[in-house]
Symmetry: C2
Subunit: 342 residues, 2 copies
DNA sequence: TGACCTTGCAGAAACGTGCCTGTCAACGCG
DNA sequence: CGCGTTGACAGGCACGTTTCTGCAAGGTCA
């Protein structure tokens, strides 16, 4: 390449990177030759020399034997999408790395930093990364004393309390909870908030737990919840598919929604806008979280190192639909025209 | 590191990589010292030396201004998940790279090969990659004469024809189609197959198109389709949310499913197992596709170069539920116990 | 006992950058 | 005319591996 342009390697490097003291004529000449040859500087050599790879790890926790649960929860997809977009805008790319991946894969890729989704307590991957001096930003408040650089999370307690109040306002007498058996902070914080609320208002807790990574278990747990002798007249489901599962269970027991059963679930899916009836959902705003996580991480990579952990709380959004209102509002979407009256 | 173990750099490299002629004692000693120091070989240096980075690009097409559509379609999430898993099992990691990303990001990462999802005709990214001599495997039959190394796809024509026959068998007299306005091969092939089928059986085509990347447009298009004077008595929707959209539209027009309207949509979502009624879906088997794509790519990276493009067709699966059967079968899932009769 | 092979390691080149230093000519100035 | 200054490059080192080659010590065998 240098020979083809008739200049030295230094001149090529300076010309392409806009450094050094070169006349514009030389710069243009070098760039033209580079374009003509289709020359691309070696990413590996640059990384080796500069110590920066432009790569950010996206680490997802594992459920059961599966490498990670992307599917069931639109949350992960949305979050990853926003994170990819935000990283790209600042010249970085995302590498998907499950937490329990083979060690050789982790050491085979040069990362500038890592985003960790919902790290478990004493996560060995996180410890290893900070030991290497890499910045680590977590989605989800780190459990225990995990030494992350920064973290972003929702206020799950406030969200749950808000939903329970919303349901009580709509006339719920006994509110049930569909929760998970895993020990991540989301499940833990939400369940604790529910129990505290029950204690405060003097209601006996009514909840069922199931392994959230198993898509079939949710329907069974929803059925269990409505089959109890102390059957709730309102339910909040912590996971995405709980809405349809609970709707189906309610139908099986002849319960009308929202007349006999008020319903809210945490979901990012748009299907709940068109179910029968539409279901009130809590959105955790995964796009804002994905964006914030990446911004914090890249700031830590490039910027000044403030060694205090930075915490950022993203507000949730309750999208109120028919399923949680005793007096259902008029449907907001009306058909454009109707060939026969309804 | 070499100094700490009291051996040469060569010996360290040989010991950690299992090469060279070293006694087991030396090998163990070097590894022990490496563990104690927390030594990790530099990925950048290895990549520079060997020419292999262990990184595979995952390129997703872009819709509108958004970097890529991950969300609306569980397909992408499932496919990416399977691809990640398959790559990991063979020691590779996946880098997410939108097709329309800044050029500097593409050239900043050393890739061994790339998976391209649904490449458009004359995709400049693909051309650039093959010019660099990198293997490219596409998910979706490449349009035009795109010179990919290999591709994996479903037989979309056969799938559509199968669904139309299935609906006709169930008693459909006039089958409608909900399709997209974009020019990707999936939409194109499916629509053409529908039109051919109509011609064969002598039915006038009844279809509505909408921009599939817009989540709101689907509901409007579903409404349009059922508002037509030549209203169909069966509909196949090409995209994931079409099922709930069509169910909602049918309710608005007072049509019962499946009595007045038979329904099938293409989806990987499990929500359709619990809608009212459950909706028959076509699964494109994204896990098998993601796995196959990665296997083909890594084979091309590591193995012998067969310069003929390798084509692989993954069969689809029709999951028949109530919405496409005039005589609905007994529900297969029954509640564990019922406190009051239904 | 010398030729030859095996074992156990060390030396050194090369991968392609980025950056620091050096060189040489031109130029302004007292 | 001598000298410092500046512009425009070239040289060369370092990044941390992998890998080829080399080399001494010890063993085998004719």
């Amino acid at each position: 390449m240098a020979a083809a342009a008739g200049v030295s390697i230094t001149t090529v490097s300076d010309a392409l990177n806009g450094k050094g003291r070169l006349p514009d004529a030389t710069r243009r000449h070098v760039r033209e030759v580079a374009d003509r040859l289709g020359y691309r500087p070696s990413a590996a050599a640059r990384t080796l020399r500069t110590g920066k790879s432009g790569l950010i790890g996206l680490t997802v926790t594992t459920y059961g034997d599966e490498p990670f649960t992307f599917t069931e929860f639109a949350y992960f997809a949305e979050m990853a999408r926003a994170a990819t977009s935000a990283a790209l805008a600042r010249g970085y790319a995302l590498v998907i790395l499950p937490a329990t991946s083979r060690h050789d894969v982790w050491s085979n890729v040069a990362l500038d930093g890592t985003v960790v989704i919902d790290p478990s307590d004493q996560d060995p991957v996180v410890s290893e990364l900070v030991r290497q001096g890499l910045p680590v930003v977590s989605d989800g408040r780190p459990a225990g004393s995990l030494p992350v650089t920064a973290w972003v999370d929702n206020d799950h307690e406030a969200a749950v309390l808000g939903i329970l109040d919303h349901l009580a306002d709509a006339g719920a007498r006994r509110i049930g909870l569909l929760t998970g058996t895993s020990t991540d902070t989301y499940t833990h914080l939400s369940t604790t908030a529910y129990l505290r609320w029950c204690e405060r208002v003097g209601q006996d807790p009514v909840y069922e737990s199931y392994p959230a990574h198993d898509p079939c278990a949710g329907a069974v747990a929803a059925d269990r919840l409505l089959a109890r002798p102390d059957r709730p007249d309102a339910v909040y489901g912590l996971f995405d598919p709980n809405g349809t599962d609970l709707l189906a269970a309610a139908r099986r027991y002849g319960m009308r929604v929202p007349e006999d059963l008020l319903l809210v679930c945490c979901s990012e899916s748009t299907v709940y806008a068109n179910t029968e009836p539409p279901v009130t959902t809590l959105s955790l705003k995964p796009r804002r979280i994905g964006t914030a996580v990446v911004q914090l991480l890249i700031d830590a990579i490039e910027g000044v190192e403030s060694d205090l952990p930075i915490e950022q709380v993203i507000p949730t959004e309750l999208i109120v639909r028919t399923s949680s209102q005793r007096r259902p509002p008029r449907t907001t979407v009306s058909p454009p025209r109707s060939p026969e009256g309804k």
